[in-house]
């Protein structure tokens, strides 16, 4: 997966939007930059399938040796899948954050929130300012 074609939130989630049976589905993960900043991941909590989320809602948390960080949904919709293998293989987030490291899939109920997300160059700029 090419990270340059993804959308990004200011809280470091990435979003890939695909068409699925007439609707749109957002696959969501956390960026390589975020994984590198967190380091030493030890725990991840995933939400339940079927939960409704609004853009900005906390959907889970990821914990490192040093601190715990909430993960926020960048979109509005219903969670239709979670990567349940991930919490037992957190190293995947570092090795393949944009493909095997996906975290949740959300069927969009509203596409307005997508307009608030950043493209890759804009997100890169934010990372270079934070890093």
């Amino acid at each position: 997966m090419n990270e340059e074609n993804l959308l990004y939130s200011s809280s470091h989630e990435w979003v890939r939007v695909t068409e699925d049976e007439g609707g749109k589905v957002a696959t969501i993960g956390i960026s390589a930059f975020a994984v590198q900043q967190l380091t030493d991941l030890v725990f991840m909590e995933l939400p339940e399938v079927g939960r409704e989320v609004a853009a900005g809602d906390e959907f889970g948390e990821v914990e490192s040796v040093k601190a715990v960080s909430p993960m926020y949904s960048p979109v509005d919709g219903e969670i239709i899948a979670v990567n349940s293998a991930l919490p037992d293989r957190l190293e995947t987030l570092g090795e393949d954050p944009y493909d095997q490291g996906w975290i949740i899939k959300v069927r969009l109920t509203d596409e307005a929130s997508l307009a608030k997300l950043m493209d890759y160059p804009t997100y890169q700029k934010q990372c270079s300012e934070e890093g």
Binding site: T39, D40, V42, F43, E45, E63, V65, K66, V68
Partner: protein, 371 residues
Amino acid sequence: MPPLAKTPLHDWHVDQGARMVDFAGWSMPVQYRSIVDEHLATRRAAGVFDVSHMARLRFDGSDSAALLDRVLTRRVSDLTPGRIRYSLVTNDQGGILDDVLVYHFQTPSGRQYHLMVVNASNRQKIVRWLEQPLAMAGDVQMQDRTEQTAMISVQGPAAVPIVAGLVPAKVGDLGYYHGVVTEQFGRPCTVSRTGYTGEDGFELIVRAEDAVDVWKNLFRAGRDAGITAAGLGTRDTLRLEAGMPLYGHELSEQIDPYQAGLGFAVNLKDRSFPGRDALVRLKDQPRSLVRVGLELTGRRVAREHDQVLRDGQPVGQVTSGTFSPTLQKPVAMAYVPLSASDPDTPLVVDVRGRPLAARVVPLPFYKRPTG
């Protein structure tokens, strides 16, 4: 906010890509890459830590030991040259103002002095606390040597051969809590068998202008042994596994030495120091709270200020917690009532609204293999 103080090794840390944080007013490396990697490298081989932020107070003059005896919970006037002692400074109520190491050194030319190493966060407080006793003391001159010197900690099973190869003194023969004034390639240097990781190792004090050279010499000498630069993040996980208290977390002015499990560092017999009378009373009272170790189930980590519950009632608070890289499980230290402090007592920690099962375990969590 004044600008952060920088140790003589600051630029080296930045060049290595370390993540720098504000620690007690100092810009310090919290990690270079991974806390877990640095932690495990220290347990397996050797980790090198810049601990120059710790305050170094030097006492010269024939009344130095007498002055220190009047402010410390343990006597130091009986320390022969080359010996080091852990002690506390307490206020009149017996609350802990700081935990310190006191060194009695003798230079090769025969000059004797005492050194007190103080937590960075307590430096100003302790310097102020000493003002009055110093004003009343006889022949004592105190100098704050923090800025003129650097302090480097080398810890782990490979620390002894690495340091021993760099200094003429036979530091491999030094006992625990012993130190020596020596030199490294002509640069003055103290070496003490002390540390804060649960490993064997040394702490070196050098002149600020020599710090980078000494640091690089250590890496050259330790490269084949797997020496690693380690940050404050790793220092914290190591000391936590070793069950060692940290000021501002397990220790504070509201905690007395007996609650903290530091009764060994208090000597009341024929002594006079601030807090001594309060400690005489506290010593024989049942402890209201005691410091314990907790092991949690699962992988979620209990953090400082999380509440400890028993039968649904809050009874205590977590003071430090992490995911132990060595044990591969979450561990924490907490203060709980005496009645809940026995090993295996089942407790619950409220971790951000989620009740997690915990049990009391004896400290330390980790003890290095000896042999």
